[in-house]
Every structure is written in structure tokens, then in C-alpha cells.
Symmetry: C2
Subunit: 175 residues, 2 copies
Amino acid sequence: MTSQDVILGLLMHHSLSGYDMKHKMETILSYFNNASFGTIYPTLSKMEKEELITKQSVIQEGRPNKNVYSITEKGREQFKTYMYSPVEDNEFKSDAMTRLFFGEFVEKDVIVGVLEEYLQRTKGHMERLSKLYVECQPEMSHSQEICIQIGINNSESQIRTLTQGIVRLKNLAEK
Amino acid sequence: MTSQDVILGLLMHHSLSGYDMKHKMETILSYFNNASFGTIYPTLSKMEKEELITKQSVIQEGRPNKNVYSITEKGREQFKTYMYSPVEDNEFKSDAMTRLFFGEFVEKDVIVGVLEEYLQRTKGHMERLSKLYVECQPEMSHSQEICIQIGINNSESQIRTLTQGIVRLKNLAEK
DNA sequence: GGACACATGTAACAAGTTACATGATTAA
DNA sequence: TTAATCATGTAACTTGTTACATGTGTCC
């Protein structure tokens, strides 16, 4: 799965500008994907050359002009090829968990701090997802609902585990 | 957090060869980290030049010789600097979830297939973690226990969500 | 005979990040 | 006036992956 596949997926519904795509990636796709402008714009240029998408320049008043991209028939085929290809493994990398793993080499307070920050971030993450779910549920597909439920339920589970972990570590420190 | 920080952490306890490190990353660190030989060996060379680690060649019989690396005082300081630095956000990328998100553009069976494979992989993942927990619990630190519990509990939660999702999608297909 | 574990290393390549460059409008 | 939103794009850099190259011993 590359950024190209995600862009093709986004264009299956509507035509979008690079800026719009970035916004979608930061909201509805953010919990299992990410891409910066430095990835999006060069990828769009490449895809246009390969005739997977076409560009239309839209002149706007009071705003910068924008390039709106649409998917071509060739692009739709490419997207199908992706959707039928073997599923790749998830990629996960956690700095917070790495610190927990090596926690024995620093003071307990530092680790409690890591846990508390991780908990706050997870709570924020879950709130954003829950809000998104409430807002977008009417227009969501069935598999999109499953997708966001995975995100919400995993966050909930993580909040529970972290909360318990903090209590246990703190008790240990007092004794 | 770079591979360097992880390598320093691994060397805080024992001296290790690059091959040993790869093994650790594939087992006890695998659920929040990963690195290939193509990353490990060049990083070790770089770290040796920077005097964060030292190399000792060990001649073995019936096996290839190996280079065993030990952390230096400078390396320990560098490791502490890492452990006290601001915690970076988790990185997560999921091909399976991307396909769920764009599931409306393919047949329901394809999505059920994605869900079932994702479920099987998650089950396998959880079994490996549970086994690891049972095997290593005696020598695990408190924060390491929290770390692996996060992994196990998140997997459990994901198994539940996926199982429910499969049932719901399948019922929908029958109607 | 074949696969796997042990063991190290490089080179080519892919992918993505960060920072820079530009610039108008709008709201606090 | 300061920040945010809208809007695109490039260049340098970092990081990591895959594949190749090499070779022995052990187990089935």
C-alpha cells in the first residue's frame, strides 16, 4: 500500500485538490494513515504523467487557484488491482512503548510521566474518533463503520490498560 | 526514536552481536518496533565510529565468527538523553484498515476476506504475545509488563471488534 | 538433498519528512 | 498584528527495505 493507492481511493467518489486530500488524511484517515504535502504533491504529478488522474485548474476569487484532480478509467483499474492484491501487514512503531520497555534504567517518575502522557494522548485520540463517528455515521459505509470501531475500541482498551498500569506503578513507588 | 536508541537500550544489560539484536527485535520488541539487518549493521558501524559502542570479535568453532558489541560510558549518556527527551507520537499504518475504508468499491466477499485474514493475523499476534508473557514474566520489569499488557489487551479488543464486524457484514450479505 | 540456524555486510532503491519559498484573505 | 486557512511546489535529507554475496554446521 503506497500513497498512490490511498489517493486513488479518495478520488473514487469525488474530484479533489491536493490540499483537500491532506485534510482528509488528517481527519477521516488519520488513525491508520498519514501523508505530508511533500508526499502528496510529487505523487500527484507522477500519477498525472502515468494517466491515472487528470488535472483541472480552478481559478478562485479571494483564494489561491487550485488544481482539482479526477480519476481516469486507468486509475480505476489500478485501484481495483490494489484492492484485490494480498493484504500487507500493519506497521506499528511506538516510542512510548519503547520507553516502557527500557523503563528499568530510569527513575520510576519518568516512566509514570511517559504513561500519563501516553494516556492523555490516547484519550485525545479516542475523543477525536468518537466525534468523527457521530458526525459521519450517516454517510459511512458498513466497512467504514467497522474500521472506525476498531480504532475506537482499541483506544478504549488502551486507556484501560494504561490507567491500571499507572495505578500499579504508583503503588509500587509508595511501598 | 531511531534504531540507535533501541540498540543502546538493548546493550544496557548485556553485550550483543548484530544477529542477537535482530532476534530480540523479532521477538520481545516485535510488537512496537522492527529493524532489518540492512538497518542494524550499518547503524552498528556508525555507532562504533561515534564511540557509543565498542566491538570485540569472537572466534567460534563450527559457527561463523561474530562481532559482539558493548555500550560505552558515552553510549549510556546518549541513552539517558533519549529516555529524558520528549516522547514522539506512535506511528501506525494499516493496509487492512485502508481496504475496509474503501470497501464500498469492491464486492462484500472481498471485504469479508480482508476481515477474516486480519482476524487470523491478530489472533496469531496475540498468541505469540501471550506465550512471550508467560515465558518471560519472571524476568520482566514492571514497565515491561505494562508494555506487553498493552499489546495483549489491544489484540484482544481488536479480535472482538473484528469478530463482531464479520458477523454483521455477513448477515447483511444474506438479506 | 534441502532447509534452517548461525553470522556479517553492501549497494541499489524506495519512501517519506522537514524546511523553505510564495502569497492572499480572514478573524481574533 | 498575529495567527490561521487556503493553496502549491521543490530540494535536501533521513531512514529503512530488499536483494545480493558468502559460507559452515546441523537436522530431517
